[in-house]
Symmetry: C2
Amino acid sequence: MIILYDISCTRHNTAWSPSTWKTRYVLNYKGLSYRTEWVEFADIEALSIKHGFAPSGKRADGSPRYTLPAIYDESTGAKIADSSLIADYLEATYLDTPSLYPHNTRALQAAYEAAVLAHLDAIHQFTAPYLMTKKYFTPKTEEYYRKFREPAFGGKRLEDLLPFGAERVKQWERLKNDIGKIAAWYDKNDRKGSFLLGETPSWADFVAASFLVWLRVIWGEESEEWKDLETWHNGRWKKLFAAVKKYEAMA
Amino acid sequence: MIILYDISCTRHNTAWSPSTWKTRYVLNYKGLSYRTEWVEFADIEALSIKHGFAPSGKRADGSPRYTLPAIYDESTGAKIADSSLIADYLEATYLDTPSLYPHNTRALQAAYEAAVLAHLDAIHQFTAPYLMTKKYFTPKTEEYYRKFREPAFGGKRLEDLLPFGAERVKQWERLKNDIGKIAAWYDKNDRKGSFLLGETPSWADFVAASFLVWLRVIWGEESEEWKDLETWHNGRWKKLFAAVKKYEAMA
């Protein structure tokens, strides 16, 4: 059994972080047994230190930055944080499960992930504010999030990042164009199939889907925003979600 | 027979553009018969209009921007500009030649190319100045290049872009770090082989090699700069060049 540490919110059994979604997709795709332990955002550091998960990076002030997802694999004793390192570990350890990097595409997929991450500037203003206005966080986590995340947004209150009026129209178009770059890569594929490699899912699809499912969870599936996004790029994302839906189970 | 239009310089039979190198690598890799026609930089627009090559983009002022490489395929009548469109054309037309996108990786490779292009900010200051100081251009092309390229560098004379002293050391390190990001993707591959997909070359390798061969040609193979680069990233680029050398023939 593998334990997946995911970030909780005030909604029961709701995963709202793109990073932890990547790992959930991967565990489900590989058909591995796991259960989720929900951790408050404010408690990630303490949990990581207690269990010995390595920091995934550094804060601006140089102190270690602990993040989820992290997994504890009871059968091997491995304790790993960072969605990319977890994917590599699972790929190397469970050789009889479907591969995330078929045909030796690990290197190519690392570049792809960097390219996706380079197109996410416009997205945060349409996610972070809703976490606050829709009361996703407990008071403790809200305080922590404001302390460590708001400085990254120029010290603005997260609620105030949401554009409105003409600026909202402009930024919404920017978001659509950014995500359109990713859609344009998918469109280069002339073969059948909803995935980047055609008919076989790979890490790349879970990376793209994780950012989009993040939007779906935060906005709500019935929101005007989500319904608009489903029409973008010739229904590319609607098609991808239909294909990855079976890997969204919350174990 | 395919005619490859490449950009000439004052050196005989010397290709110095990364874009045209991509197409040369591809033609050689696919083993297609071709011959090169050399065109002065200043004459690219007139040639493109005369032969009916489409512009590959727009200039800042909105006017069409004609670029090389372009190919004329005598056997089909196709006339195509832009290295990526040429690659797609050759891939679709010559099905019995080695594939540039094995295992349906076309979409993944498009993202990879975008990721490589995003890491080339530091490179121009170590290429453009040498084109001038080493007198690569005829007077006519020099005049044209200054008129259309120098504005993109903030109106500076190209010679003046070359950093010196402490700034040179800093920018050289920046270049090494940028190229190191690409090396880090290669390193994700745990299998044998010099290529991004392991033992099989693909478009991705020719993209990376085209930027590096550009440096090699402009600096000179015996230059201090090139000898330094060959030691970078555990000899990654020396290894790649040993592997692509057979696709560098100038037909």
